[in-house]
């Protein structure tokens, strides 16, 4: 039982802050790992908003909890794949940052 309605009033602010901060980092930071961190923080922001909305009732809404759990697992899986892709990119091109999309003259795809 939550003694005082604090979590419901305070935590949404935290969630929004994390979402906004994560979005900023995902767009502005250049290193791929930093972008991935930003996206994760964005996700945590969404979960904080969802759970604080869920905490309005007697006990925290179990469906919202289930959604958050699914979201955490999906975000972690996507992060794992993104990191593997970043390592692959480094191996293949030596880059750890994305430059502006190339024009027409990037090397033609080699046929496997």
């Amino acid at each position: 039982m939550i003694d005082w309605p604090g979590p419901v009033l305070l935590y949404p602010f935290g969630g929004v802050f994390l979402f906004a901060l994560g979005l900023y980092a995902a767009i502005v930071r250049r290193h791929l790992v930093q972008k991935v961190l930003g996206l994760n923080v964005m996700g945590s922001g969404v979960f904080m908003v969802l759970l604080s909305l869920a905490a309005r009732g007697q006990a925290t809404d179990p469906v919202a909890q289930a959604l958050t759990l699914t979201g955490i697992v999906v975000a972690a899986s996507a992060t794992a794949f993104a990191l593997a892709l970043a390592v692959r990119l480094k191996r293949v091109s030596g880059a750890t940052e994305l430059d502006a999309p190339a024009g027409d003259d990037d090397d033609p795809a080699r046929e496997r």
């Binding site: 979005l23 502005v28 979960f47 179990p62 469906v63 697992v73 899986s77 970043a86 750890t96």
Partner: protein, 319 residues
């Protein structure tokens, strides 16, 4: 007591905000990753304050633990690749900014700030309470378990959980499709402390994982948390013997990875033929079916997460 809790909440939120800020604005990647792990643990506490212990466990195990381990090993691999073929770009530090970047930063800050304000206004205008809890409570006696979160995850909205397992397998398939496993030269393990700690922690992690799995049906816990803790045990084993990776035979490994999804699908079709419908359980057997699915899922999750940590696909895959 509420004054104390109020102060605690404020401090926790300020801490979360501060750690997140430093994590995302840091130019040293290692520092950023460590701060990210710390952020995960602070978020875990926040979920406890929001009365969501299942989620707190998941955040600590998956969000902070496994994701943190993956981030650290990624940094290690990037550094190794940089050493092999130097490009002059330091993998551990991101490049500084220029005037163009400053303008982009400004625009994004403005947009993001506006979005944040809109969100706050929307959230403050939300009604007192809405949710599906009454419906869940009304049907819990038919779900076969006592923990309402497990009831939702593995019975009422089992389809979502099933697809979630598919996402994990798919992430691994994607990572494996990128290339074969290339081992990073092992660093010498310093002193007698680390192997001793690893030897102690691994059995503890395994026991904790199995407990979480069993406890999930009537308390906080469940397949995902258990799978992540078992994966942590697996990662500890991998770290403890970097030169001799535990290599699983090819076909059994694949079968273990799809065990969770396959069993879930099988039970789902069984429900279509004999039960209340696709992805449903014949009611008297609900508890046992859920437990069976959770066991298979835990195995698959643990294998997948350890495989994601090890990196590329095993060499036997290509024979």
């Amino acid at each position: 007591m509420s004054a104390v809790l109020f102060v605690f909440d404020v401090m926790l939120l300020v801490g979360i905000g501060g750690v997140a800020w430093h994590c995302l604005t840091s130019t040293d990647l290692f520092r950023a990753v460590v701060l990210f792990i710390a952020l995960g643990l602070l978020l875990s506490m926040a979920w406890v304050r929001l009365e969501a212990p299942d989620i707190a466990l998941a955040e600590a195990a998956i969000g902070a633990g496994v994701t943190g381990a993956l981030l650290l090993i990624t940094l290690e691999r990037l550094k190794h690749l940089e050493a092999l073929s130097p490009t002059g770009r330091d993998p551990e530090h991101s490049t500084g900014s220029s005037a163009g970047r400053a303008l982009l930063s400004g625009v994004v800050i403005a947009l993001v700030g506006a979005l944040g304000l809109l969100l706050i206004r929307a959230l403050l205008a939300q009604p007192g309470q809405a949710g599906l809890q009454p419906l869940v409570d009304a049907q819990m006696h038919r779900s076969g378990v006592d923990n309402p979160v497990t009831g939702v995850l593995l019975n009422f909205r089992a389809y979502d959980t099933f697809l979630e397992l598919a996402v994990i397998v798919l992430a691994l398939l994607g990572a494996w499709s990128l290339g074969r496993h290339e081992s990073v030269p092992a660093r010498p393990v310093p002193g007698p402390m680390l192997p001793g700690i690893l030897r102690f922690l691994t059995p503890v992690a395994i026991v904790t994982g199995v407990y979480l799995l069993w406890a999930g049906t009537h308390g906080p816990g469940g397949a995902f948390q258990a799978g992540a803790v078992l994966a942590a045990a697996g990662i500890l084993i991998v770290l403890g013997r970097p030169r001799r990776l535990p290599i699983a035979p090819d076909q059994p490994l694949r079968l273990g990875l799809v065990a969770g999804v396959a069993l879930f699908l099988g039970v789902g079709v069984h429900g279509l033929l004999f039960g209340p419908g696709f992805m449903g359980y014949v009611e008297p057997w609900a508890y046992w079916l859920i437990l069976a699915i959770e066991v298979a899922a835990t195995l698959s999750i643990a294998l997948a997460l350890v495989a994601l940590f090890i990196g590329g696909r095993p060499h036997e895959e290509d024979r």
